[in-house]
């Protein structure tokens, strides 16, 4: 099957604008701007069933339709702050297929009537941000961005904003705060960004991968898009595969592809003769799926889509599949995830800020073999008190691995508490 998002793997040099044009580039943008009303673009994207690829899986066209027609200007903000441990897909899109991505951003701007779009790229991707800025300049030079697009009155300008190392800025309201020149701390909702967003104006915030789907949908139509994936999760998805696999990397596959195909067929299985013990399908924010002889086939045959992964007590999220073999104790795994969340908690909500501080102490002590059984209960209790009590999802995410680990891998916690 030809690639839809990672097309640079089929077409060498696609990061060059001339090669992109020779391969159908900007046809969708021209079609939209010259022949479709913005509302028709919104309807087509709604009909496609495209769901946000940043993690939440919210229907993109529906999100766009929340913008009020009575308040202007509208803004489009692209979330290129990819920072979830285990996620490295947006980076490959921007490096290899930047013009398809930028055409997608421009299409989103046209659909919601935004003359300005901002692309918020994480600071660590500095060279990519420079590359994207150069691509924008090239598009302006050739009339694919700027004023009077394709001889119409449509104007679209895109600008890059560089982050500076904060996972929380991937949370959409924190991202807006950061773009406005403040500390990246989430806002209280409602009001939602669709009504009160960037500079207090209606704003659409979409992930890089989501936007990169748009040229295909606009050019070929919703029905063609729906030929891939499942009914409720249409399209393809880039799965970032990492951890204990032979061939880690990005794999573009239809939504609904089973775990077995990703981990064993594409990923080459588990190295060093080890056994698969656990999977985190949504990066560090996942509940941990336990894999053992009793459920191996059931897990392996589960389709990776937004509806099916919850049947294993986890989530698809951004599809950052971290594979863990039987050489790594699970109490160490959650120590690692808590180290991350404790560092990245923005400090605004007390349960997340203090809860993660205590969870860090507890997971460190448990992993060091210095804990007593009551510490494991206390850890579970602290996690329970963080969950559902914060302004944004970071607090909840920090508890996922912890609580699922204690519940599903009790032997790893008996072992470390047995010594005390």
């Amino acid at each position: 099957m030809a690639y839809l998002l990672l097309r640079h793997r089929d077409i060498p040099g696609l990061e060059n604008i001339e090669i992109y044009k020779q391969n159908g580039g900007f046809r969708a943008l021209e079609k939209a701007v010259t022949t479709l009303q913005p509302k028709q673009v919104v309807e087509e994207v709604k009909a496609s069933g495209l769901r946000g690829r940043g993690g939440a899986g919210f229907p993109t066209g529906v999100k766009w339709s929340f913008l009020p027609d009575t308040i202007w200007p509208h803004y489009v903000v692209c979330n290129a702050d990819e920072s979830e441990p285990g996620t490295f897909k947006d980076r490959e899109i921007m490096e290899g297929n930047p013009y398809q991505f930028l055409e997608g951003v421009a299409l989103a701007c046209y659909a919601v009537g935004a003359a300005e779009g901002y692309i918020y790229i994480r600071g660590e991707y500095y060279p990519i941000a420079k590359q994207i800025e150069a691509c924008i300049a090239e598009m302006e030079k050739q009339g694919y961005l700027g004023d009077s697009l394709f001889g119409t009155q449509t104007s679209i300008r895109l600008k890059v904003h560089l982050g500076a190392g904060a996972y929380i800025c991937g949370e959409e309201t924190a991202l807006l705060e950061s773009l406005e020149g403040k500390r990246g701390q989430p806002r209280l909702r409602p009001p939602f960004p669709a009504v009160v967003g960037l500079y207090g104006k209606p704003t659409v915030i979409n992930n890089v991968e989501t936007l990169t789907n748009l040229p295909f949908i606009v050019e070929h139509g919703a029905a063609a898009f729906r030929e891939f994936g499942t009914e409720k999760s249409p399209g393809v998805k880039i799965f970032s595969l990492s951890g204990n696999v032979e061939r880690p990397g990005n794999y573009e596959l239809p939504l609904g592809t089973p775990f077995r195909e990703l981990i064993f067929t594409h990923g080459g299985g588990i190295p060093n003769g080890r056994k698969l013990r656990a999977i985190m399908p949504a990066g560090a924010s996942s509940s941990i799926i336990r894999v053992d002889d009793s459920n191996f086939d059931r897990v392996m045959d589960t389709p990776m889509d937004y509806e099916s992964v919850p049947s294993l007590g986890s989530m698809l999220g951004s599809a950052s599949v971290i594979v863990i073999d039987d050489a790594h104790p699970i109490d160490w795994v959650i120590k690692k995830t808590i180290d991350f969340f404790q560092h990245e908690s923005c400090g605004k909500c007390t349960p997340c800020r203090d809860g993660n501080y205590w969870m860090k102490h507890l997971t460190t002590r448990i992993h060091a073999g210095k804990a007593i059984a009551a510490d494991v209960k206390l850890l579970d209790n602290v996690a329970a008190q963080v969950y559902g009590k914060c302004l944004c999802a970071l607090g909840d995410f920090s508890t996922m691995a912890v609580r699922s680990a204690i519940e599903r891998f009790p032997e790893d916690f008996e072992k470390v508490t047995g010594n005390s």
Partner: protein
Amino acid sequence: MLTEKYPSEIQAIFAKYPVKRSAVMPLLYLAQREEGYITKENMQEIANLLDLDVTEVAGIVGFYTMFHDEKAGKYRMQVCTDLPCALRGADAFLEALCDNLGIRVGETTPDGLITLEEVKCLGGCHRAPLFQIQEGDMVAFHENMTVEKTMELVEALRKSVNSSPRAATA
């Protein structure tokens, strides 16, 4: 003064946003370009440019891990040890780097060349072990690394610093 050193760049930054406060992060990167950290004087100047209190600017510097308010080595070598990298040996890699460089995490080599830091996910989990090198306002990734390759890189950096006219400041 940043306004004297980078007048056209500052103008271009302000032109990007309808609200000038949005310029704070790009201005901080500019302030970090030469010395690798942001001085109190630069924070005050940025605060004046944006009609902010200097405390607010300092609060932003403190919030984001890629802004620094203290001098370090010329190159900040930032190794990711998050879960996906750690599953592929990043912790052992970092430890071996410490041994080879003769410093601990957070310390700087005696010649002021390298400050070794441990950071959170860089988005290169499939190419672990990896680190980024932060130099001024720039970043470069070094992926699929070994200790040998890293020490060769350090030597190359050392040579390039010693042969450049700005070496005296390093």
